[in-house]
């Protein structure tokens, strides 16, 4: 597996959101571009917590709308 954090992030998103890898850009919006609802996002966060061995508090998810924002949140904890 790639060590690049964004590639690992992308792999989780592709698996859980059932999207193509090239759709997972940092500008992509979860709702509009990736057709993800709130349950999808919760599942994604749980998978990311496991993949990166980090903990994300509910309050940190406020206002997260794009892949880039979510990635930065996780990446800052590494």
């Amino acid at each position: 597996m790639s060590d690049d954090p964004f590639e690992r992030f992308k792999k989780c998103a592709v698996e859980l959101l059932n999207v193509q890898p090239d759709q997972v850009t940092k500008e992509a919006r979860f709702g509009d571009d990736l057709d993800a609802d709130s349950l999808d996002l919760v599942e994604l966060v749980m998978a990311l917590e496991e993949e990166f061995d980090v903990t994300v508090d509910e309050s940190e998810l406020e206002g997260i709308e794009t892949v880039g924002q979510a990635f930065d949140l996780i990446n800052a904890k590494l």
Binding site: D37, L39, M46
Partner: protein, 238 residues
């Protein structure tokens, strides 16, 4: 369609009847028990020890079931306790421990089950409530509160997971002829029977029939419902 069904507290009483009804419907059945492993149940049932007040035990039980049978598709949250006494004599621990087993226990098993149901885009969760959750019952403030709480839990789950075709319902029995009831004196029993419009206790199988129906594919449009199986005792209270 044969599915994997788990009944907590399926070793006796209503839970055992539910497990039998689900097995009769062709499902692969797992049950959990706390104190005594059941005797005389079919050899193909998976019987797992689990105290629903212990999150680690709940997780371990589900992991065992997933390894042996596959992810749980039908969850019957039945395990429960009573600690009856008048409120003036009821310590906070007697209140809290019943809530922990009956209500938080339901939350623990449902939470553990629902993640896998989400992935499968299918699930049936049925909580065993009680008529006293809506009517109240002297001597059962803790039990009644826990059973009323299950309704709010079930309806919230029903809303959260509706988009994944997971239905969540409550079956609310009245008095049922189980071991729990055998200890009741003849006078009390007669008084209870007199209060029930149908004039008798329910057999566990009559509760199980409603549970098995809600677990079936045919019940796919029923969610957030409280189905009384109480001989008419609770009419007008919900």
């Amino acid at each position: 369609m044969s599915r994997v069904a788990l009944v907590t507290g399926g070793n006796r009483g209503i839970g055992l009847a539910c497990a039998r009804a689900l097995a009769d419907a062709g499902h692969r059945v797992a049950i959990t028990y706390r104190s005594a492993p059941p005797e005389g149940v079919p050899a193909d049932w998976l019987c797992v020890a689990c105290d629903v007040t212990d999150t680690a035990q709940v997780d371990a039980a589900f992991s065992t079931i997933e390894a042996e049978l596959g992810p749980v598709e039908i969850l019957v949250s039945n395990a429960g306790v009573t600690a009856d006494m008048l409120v003036l004599r009821m310590g906070e621990d007697a209140f809290g421990s019943v809530i922990d087993a009956n209500l938080v226990g339901g939350f623990r098993v449902a939470k553990r089950a629902v993640a896998k149901m989400m992935r499968a885009r299918f699930g049936r969760i049925i909580f065993l409530g009680s008529v006293v959750g809506s009517t109240g019952q002297a001597g059962q403030a803790n039990y009644a509160a826990s059973k009323a709480g299950l309704v709010g839990l079930a309806r919230s789950l029903a809303r959260e997971f509706a988009s994944r075709s997971i239905t969540v319902n409550v079956v609310a029995p009245g008095p049922v002829a189980t071991e729990m009831f055998a200890a009741v004196s003849d006078d009390t029993r007669a008084a209870i029977e007199g209060a029930v419009p149908l004039g008798r206790l329910a057999e566990p199988e009559e509760v199980a029939a409603a549970v098995a129906f809600l677990a079936s594919d045919a019940a796919g449009y029923i969610t957030g419902a409280v189905v009384p199986v109480d001989g008419g005792l609770g009419m007008g209270a919900t």
